[in-house]
């Protein structure tokens, strides 16, 4: 029996390792994972395919927002969210965030939006992953003075629909400030690395 297992071990390893590597495609730096200890509020959401399917069963068909959400998650594979809110500024270092960003500087990922605001310190990066010219995933890294958010959505997703959901659920839509004489932020759009 043990000899059979020994013979099968390389095959099992070949089957298991790619799955494990795929699951660990994106790693949150340990320093960032440990930020929950410093955070005033922490949101951690890990939802894989079966969990998403199951959760979406409980979405109401009458409620328009939930109906939209159900449509949105229909073909998704997983959703991972980490959001930390701190009482003080500089609870995390820029190097930590940079190490997170650097994972998406690969041919599979396209940096679609990169906003660096010196005025209010709100930095947002949006990365898309394309497969066969189709959207296969999105990563959002939002680094604000008192808040750090990382969102990873795997699977085809409608960006406009997702952005629309941001203004719902009782949260008001973010308003653009009136144009000022001085540029407040630097933005890169369509920058692919």
């Amino acid at each position: 029996m043990s000899t059979k297992i020994r013979k099968l071990f390389p095959i099992i390893l070949l089957l298991v390792v790619p799955c494990v590597l795929r699951a660990q495609d994106i790693k949150l730096p340990p320093d960032i994972e440990s930020l929950s200890a410093k955070a005033k509020e922490t949101v951690e959401v890990n939802m894989d395919g079966p969990m998403l399917r199951w959760a979406s069963k409980f979405l109401s068909k009458e409620d328009p927002e939930e109906k939209e959400a159900a449509k949105l998650v229909e073909n998704l594979k997983s959703i991972y969210v980490r959001s930390y809110e701190f009482t003080d500024e500089k609870a995390y270092s820029t190097a930590e965030v940079e190490s997170l960003r650097s994972q998406f500087r690969s041919p599979t990922w396209s940096r679609v939006v990169g906003v660096r605001s010196e005025h209010d310190g709100e930095n947002v990066d949006v990365f898309f992953r394309m497969e066969d010219e189709k959207m296969a995933g999105i990563v959002i890294i939002s680094a604000e003075p008192k808040e750090l958010t990382f969102v990873n959505i795997v699977g085809p997703i409608e960006i406009d629909q997702l952005a629309d959901l941001g203004g719902e659920f009782g949260i008001p839509r973010l308003k653009t400030r009136p144009p000022s004489s001085k540029p407040l932020a630097k933005a890169d759009k369509g920058d692919q690395k």
């Binding site: 949101v43 959401v45 939802m47 969990m51 998403l52 199951w54 959760a55 979406s56 069963k57 409980f58 979405l59 939930e66 959400a69 949105l72 998650v73 959703i79 969210v81 959001s83 939006v113 906003v115 605001s117 709100e122 947002v124 949006v126 999105i138 959002i140 939002s142 958010t149 969102v151 959505i153 960006i159 997702l162 952005a163 629309d164 959901l165 941001g166 203004g167 719902e168 659920f169 949260i171 839509r173 973010l174 308003k175 653009t176 400030r177 144009p179 000022s180 004489s181 001085k182 540029p183 407040l184 932020a185 630097k186 933005a187 890169d188 759009k189 369509g190 920058d191």
Partner: protein, 133 residues
């Protein structure tokens, strides 16, 4: 009638004729017994299905079956309740994740819009295709 009254012999003959002994027909007793048995079967009250519980063993078996059904039903109901609660919690998590993702995406959009609206006024000459969105 008058002739009989007038002649007592004729009356006697008539009476003898009427009251003479005759043997019962064949199978008379058997027929009577069969009819009596049939009538008694018809008049006998029918037993209700509930009468099966008059036996103690069946009574206990029925009690045990009903108790088991109730217990299983209760467990199933609790399981459904728990599953629903977990599902609702998962739904809340999903909505929270989508809300956060949507809000951050809107933040990115608003920042880009902010830059787009502010740049033409302040630095129209420095605008590059890369900074446009």
């Amino acid at each position: 009638m008058n002739s009989i009254n007038q002649n007592p012999d004729r009356l006697e003959h008539a009476l003898q004729d009427a009251l003479r002994r005759e043997d019962a027909p064949e199978n008379f007793a058997a027929n009577v017994l069969t009819r009596v048995a049939g009538k008694s079967a018809e008049t006998e009250p029918q037993h209700s299905w509930l009468s099966i519980f008059s036996r103690p063993l069946l009574r206990w078996a029925a009690f045990a079956a009903v108790s088991t059904c109730l217990a299983l039903g209760g467990i199933h109901y609790l399981h459904l309740q728990r599953e629903r609660a977990q599902g609702e919690a998962a739904k809340q998590q999903l909505m929270l994740a989508l809300r956060i993702a949507g809000t951050k995406l809107q933040l990115a959009k608003s920042k880009v819009n902010e830059i787009n609206t502010s740049r033409p006024q302040s630095q129209p000459e420095n605008r590059t295709p890369r900074s446009r969105s």
